[in-house]
């Protein structure tokens, strides 16, 4: 099912399919007409995707069919072996962790995982982690430090789960701890926002040396819906909130919050998963190559400085 703004593209694509079928059936040569339409389709796609509103990007970031954490773990990496459990509270399905290699190099991987269908979404709690998920991530940080394995985190969550049990188990405490623990890693760490970077629940595994984001992914202090509900007391104003929050990849580069945008294939990652996965892999390999030469202390210091520097303020006149 196309996203709302994809409907004209889908309509035109359907028209071309029809025409091809007609031409073939009737054995008429419509090559020229079809080529023209195809060119128009390409232009339409480019025009559409180059000019997505922020709210439309939010929709792309959340689109069904967009590659999820596990899709990257299984296809951008080799030999992914999942390690379960935080040894304390449980095994949170909303966070998938383990070991893998990336172009032959061992890495620790941590991915927030939304469901790829309704059943999985319920199992994965829609990618909203409980404290156990962050504790599992922290166990992986320890493993990474001990065995000197670079860390790759893939961020895709509406946010940390706001529920009774999560609060009882110290959701705030564990996010804070995870931020601290990740900032202190003595191995290279790269994070990629692959879909939705939802607030503290995303940042908890996003304190990396390099923070990357897919072109149509978002990263925000609050969801547009919640923001609208607070500011205009109307979740329907989400579109307006999305604009105001400046939560797209380009916005975030401008703010210095992310370091690099990974382009998506034309039409978005959900329309060409393999290419998207390949592009993420390529970016990760490049980034890790830059970092593996740095000493543990330098990596840690660099992370300190990167996050210490974020923010905008001015002198009081």
């Amino acid at each position: 099912m196309p996203l709302p703004f994809e409907q004209p593209i889908e309509d035109l694509a359907a028209k071309i399919r029809d025409m091809r079928a007609y031409a073939s059936e009737q054995q008429i040569d419509l090559t020229e007409e079809i080529d023209a339409l195809q060119a128009r389709l390409d232009r339409l796609k480019r025009d559409t995707y180059d000019n997505l509103t922020r709210w439309q990007r939010v929709q792309v970031a959340r689109a069904p069919g967009r590659p999820t954490g596990l899709d990257y773990l299984q296809h951008a990496f080799e030999g992914f072996t999942e390690l379960h459990g935080d040894r304390t509270l449980g095994d949170d399905p909303a966070v998938v962790t383990g070991l893998a290699t990336l172009e032959g190099a061992s890495v620790v991987v941590i991915a927030q995982q939304k469901g790829r269908d309704t059943k999985e979404n319920i199992h994965r709690n829609f990618g909203m982690s409980h404290p156990s998920g962050y504790r599992k991530a922290m166990r992986m940080f320890d493993l990474a430090d001990k065995f000197r394995l670079p860390v790759v985190t893939l961020i895709d969550t509406p946010g940390a789960y706001p529920g009774l049990a999560a609060e009882e188990q110290g959701q705030a405490w564990v996010i804070a701890e995870s931020i601290r623990r990740m900032s202190e890693l003595t191995v290279p760490a790269v994070s990629v926002v692959i879909g939705e970077g939802g607030s503290g629940g995303a940042l908890a595994i996003g304190v990396a040396n390099r923070v990357l984001i897919l072109e149509n992914a978002i990263y925000s202090v609050i969801s547009p819906e919640s923001c609208a509900a607070i500011l205009w007391r109307d979740a329907g104003e989400a579109e307006r909130a999305a604009e105001a929050l400046k939560l797209t990849s380009r916005d975030l580069v401008a703010l210095g919050v992310v370091d690099r945008v990974i382009d998506e294939p034309l039409g978005g990652a959900h329309n060409d998963r393999d290419t998207a996965i390949a592009l993420v892999k390529e970016a990760l390999v490049e980034e890790l190559a830059q970092l593996t030469h740095m000493s543990g202390e330098r990596l840690r210091r660099a992370r300190y400085e990167r996050f210490r520097a974020l923010g905008r303020f001015e002198a009081v006149a």
Binding site: A160, Y161, P162, G163, L164, A166, E167, E168, Q169, G170, Q171, A172, W173, I175, A176, E177, I179, R180, S183, E184, S199, G200, L203, A204, G206, V207, Y219, S220, V221, I222, S226, C227, I230, L231, W232, A244, L245, K246, L247, D251, L252, L255, V257, R303, Y304, F307, R308, L310, G311, R312, F313, E314, A315, V316, A317
Partner: protein, 295 residues
């Protein structure tokens, strides 16, 4: 008149800083008794009848914790920009300006040096009255600076939190203050300087999920609401009433999240005691050999 001087000149009045109910007399939220306002203020904003802890103005908090005449303000030299050109029902710049005028400070925080029962500390006090104590770039920066300066000067850090969370109007930059404040605490840890965190009503969201809960020792004030997600958000999630006392200081003590719930009347003493004990450790291992050699 330069804004900075304006900030410094104004002594906050009741209207600007004090969030307890107004009027000469008030009906206590805790025990419904009629209390004389002056008695409440004299009692550090704690009901003399039932011990209900009201929110407390920043300056009163500093008076409570700092030894008389020792507080030296560090904060106040920076103020918010408007990196998102954020506008909701009013532009962010206007919101800030109004809050600055009303509360007499550039943002929702005051930091400074003080003695606390003779212990050299950096004091960080959040101002919930200023845009809900929300943490944007300025609040984050002031906390990070205070932590780093404390580390340099060999001071312990004492932070009194009160915040609705991250400041939406600065978008992802506000979110990043969670990381910024957290990494800055590392400077203290490296020098083995204690960090005591005091959670007051309310401490929620991004502040709770960063520096506030990273204290070596964490105290909470009686009855304080302390949470990641706010009660309303959780109610929407679970669609049922929350249990009595949920997310309150006493609940969190029971859940193992805070070291103790401490009454305001005992707070300074308890903080001082912990600072005394944590700063009396054995000499640094690296210093042992030379010391042993010279003694």
């Amino acid at each position: 008149m330069a804004l900075e001087r304006w900030f410094r000149r104004n002594k906050p009045t009741r209207k600007e800083e004090d969030n307890s109910p107004a009027g000469l007399w008030l009906k206590c939220d805790g025990c419904h008794a009629q209390i004389y306002r002056k008695d409440l203020v004299a009692n550090r904003y704690v009901c003399p009848e039932c011990d209900h802890h009201y929110r407390m103005p920043v300056d009163a908090r500093i008076d409570l914790l700092a030894d008389a005449g020792t507080f030296e303000r560090w904060s106040g030299h920076i103020q918010a920009q408007d990196p998102l050109e954020f506008e909701d029902t009013q532009p962010y710049t206007e919101r800030i300006e109004k809050a600055q005028k009303k509360h007499g400070r550039p943002d929702a925080i005051v930091t400074g040096a003080a003695e606390l029962d003779g212990h050299a500390v950096a004091l960080v006090v959040m101002d919930f009255a200023f845009l809900g104590g929300s943490m944007g770039s300025v609040v984050g920066e002031e906390i990070a600076r205070a932590a780093e300066r404390a580390a340099e000067e060999g001071r312990s850090l004492v932070a009194v939190t009160a915040s609705g969370g991250a400041r939406m109007q600065e978008g992802a930059l506000s979110l990043m203050q969670m990381a910024k404040t957290t990494v800055a605490l590392g400077a203290l840890a490296e020098r083995r300087l204690p960090y005591v965190s005091v959670l007051t009503d309310p401490t929620t969201g991004g502040v709770t999920a960063s520096f506030a809960t990273l204290g070596d020792v964490i105290f909470a004030e009686p009855g304080a609401l302390i949470s990641f997600a706010g009660p309303r958000v959780i109610q929407q999630t679970i669609r049922q009433d929350l249990p009595e006392g949920f997310q309150r200081a006493e609940f969190l003590l029971q859940k193992g999240m805070v070291d103790d719930v401490v009454k305001r009347s005992a707070l300074k003493g308890r903080v001082a005691q912990v600072l005394k004990l944590l700063t009396a450790g054995l000499p640094e291992p690296t210093l042992e050999a030379p010391r042993a050699a010279t003694v």
